[in-house]
Symmetry: none
Subunit: 202 residues, 4 copies
């Protein structure tokens, strides 16, 4: 969202200080308080920056939240290799879930998803940042497990990912029950068992 040709261009260069201040203010406000209760004016003041500077680099409040969230979440991009799919999945999901418990992330995610349904460009951006990468990594782990013979070749990888992530997001967004480490394990175990089993329909 805040990408531009990074070549040296004439004129005053972009202030890195301002960029950082904005993202930090966004993290402090947008990732914590209910989305709609944070105004751009407050954000700008908190960052010690003018509103115009924010809008020069981010088209809307949601895009800023997206960047701020991405900065917090997607630090670790490497694939784990524990020699079992169960171990790999837990190595990916457990740290994420633990991070989830440190802040009310359900709040931002819900707000971002609302925007996803209103603005196709934003939807594209959101999926690029938070869906595709994660699913590609999950897909790689599962395919590796198939190669190892842990799962049948006929395994529906998308289904697997939706069961795994879907149940976690479900609790995150609806808040009807906590996302404990135990829950993550059960989700992984049950999903893998289901995928592995030869289940005959009635």
């Amino acid at each position: 969202m805040s990408t531009r040709a990074e070549q040296r261009r004439p004129g005053r260069p972009r202030s890195e200080k301002a960029r950082t201040a904005i993202l930090e203010a966004a993290a402090d406000l947008l990732l914590v308080r209910p989305f709609r209760e944070v105004s751009m004016d407050e954000l700008a003041e908190r960052a010690g920056v003018s509103k115009a500077t924010i809008y020069r680099w981010w088209p809307k409040k949601e895009s800023l939240a997206l960047d701020a969230l991405f900065r917090e979440w997607e630090v670790e991009q490497s694939l784990p290799d524990t020699s079992s799919l169960r171990g790999d999945l837990l190595a990916v999901l457990r740290p994420w879930v633990r991070r989830l418990r440190t802040r009310p992330y359900g709040r931002v995610i819900a707000a971002l998803l609302t925007e996803v349904h209103a603005d196709p460009d934003f939807a594209e951006e959101y999926r690029t940042r938070f869906v595709h990468g994660r699913r590609e990594r999950g897909r790689a782990l599962i395919n590796r497990a198939i190669e190892r013979g842990e799962l049948p070749r006929s395994t529906d990888v998308d289904l697997a990912l939706d069961l795994l992530y879907g149940s976690l997001y479900h609790r995150l967004l609806h808040g009807h029950a906590p996302i404990s480490d135990r829950f993550v394990e059960k989700v992984v175990d049950t999903t893998l068992a289901g995928l592995a089993a030869e289940y005959r329909k009635t």
Copy 2:
């Protein structure tokens, strides 16, 4: 949200005509167009009603959408009985999923979930309407299956429900893949297989 003691009270009674017109306008607008793009003014005009009348009975736009959505969704409340859990679950989930495909419901749901994370009272209302009832019915179906011996007594019912509904909501909200009838079947089959299996950890 708009319930009050239905006793005969002094004064002009609430206009049933207005109530219906408002809910219908809400269904036409809030359940279709991006939430934030629908103003209360437009809603009031569409319903042929004054804004004050809406605010007298619904505290916010989200509450109104909640009622309108509830009116559309929660018509069928009876438990199916197909003598198998698979059949029962499909009997519940398939009609719901089919209805989901008729309108961009992900839009409203996302907006409602955003509000859930901002207003505890609203969250309570939301869960009462859209979470608890559905989960109770699911719980009943699963417990019946346990009685029949289809699933072990140790089955984690909440886990089951989160796997089932979580994966469906995941696609509804993220929109990365369609919710086909085939997908519903796979979700049900894989979840049931996972629950039934004795899965040994590595």
Copy 3:
């Protein structure tokens, strides 16, 4: 304003209790607090009466204030006779001015005058109640003085009344100076002197 054929008509007769309660509430509120800050709802509640009952007898808030004010002001309608115009005028103006000082009447008067300029029917009503009668009585006093030879036959009675009442209303409405008894006397004396004198233009 609240007049109707006082004949006996079929049906429940008008409640004298309600009428009085309304006028008293109006006097307590409309004649004291800034006009626009008193709502009909508050008025109705204060009078222990429904809004509809007020509107049945008075078409608007201003009409009600008019009646309430009239009830307070126009009790004394008889002509004084002190054998001098000066005495007669002071006998009329002094009590009025003293009453003026007991409450912030400028407030209501200004509000009523505003309505006079917006609603011709109301203007008619206002003048009937507060202008014509008073001017007729003033006219009578002055004509009597002319008969007595205190003033020339050519005296412009309307001019006289505008000088007398105009200067008092001026202070009442603009509030730049108090309306003391001394001021009333000076107004009367100077006006009468001016009317009596043969003033030659340059």
Copy 4:
């Protein structure tokens, strides 16, 4: 009301174009139609300006009307000098009443006076603009006449001004009779005669 330090300050300067457009729209609407029938929305639209811009500079409709009226009235600030008080007063009053007859100014004045009685700050502003200046000028004229020997040293200047302006405002506000040039002359003549005369009380 819309005054601010005119120094060069950082940031976008106030739009002179908007300011003018607002005052002109106010003159066209507020000085012509009944005050309460003109909404701020209509005013803003007429001026091609957002409501917020109006409220940034004028706290209420009345303040705006005050400025608009001032712009129309108080153009001429110089003292006339016709070598007689009568001439001086007519030179001041005649142009003013002629202007009065061009538009329904009684309407605005009544509305402003209503606000004067509701808001002390506004009252202060009103008197500064429309009372003090005019009275100071009148006072100067009269004092000059006293120096010339046209009036006794004991003349009550405030009384004089209240007689002069009071009678004119009286007709303006009550509308019971027109303010003809002839009337102005009579008011001046009679007042001056009254002030000049040695009037003996009975």
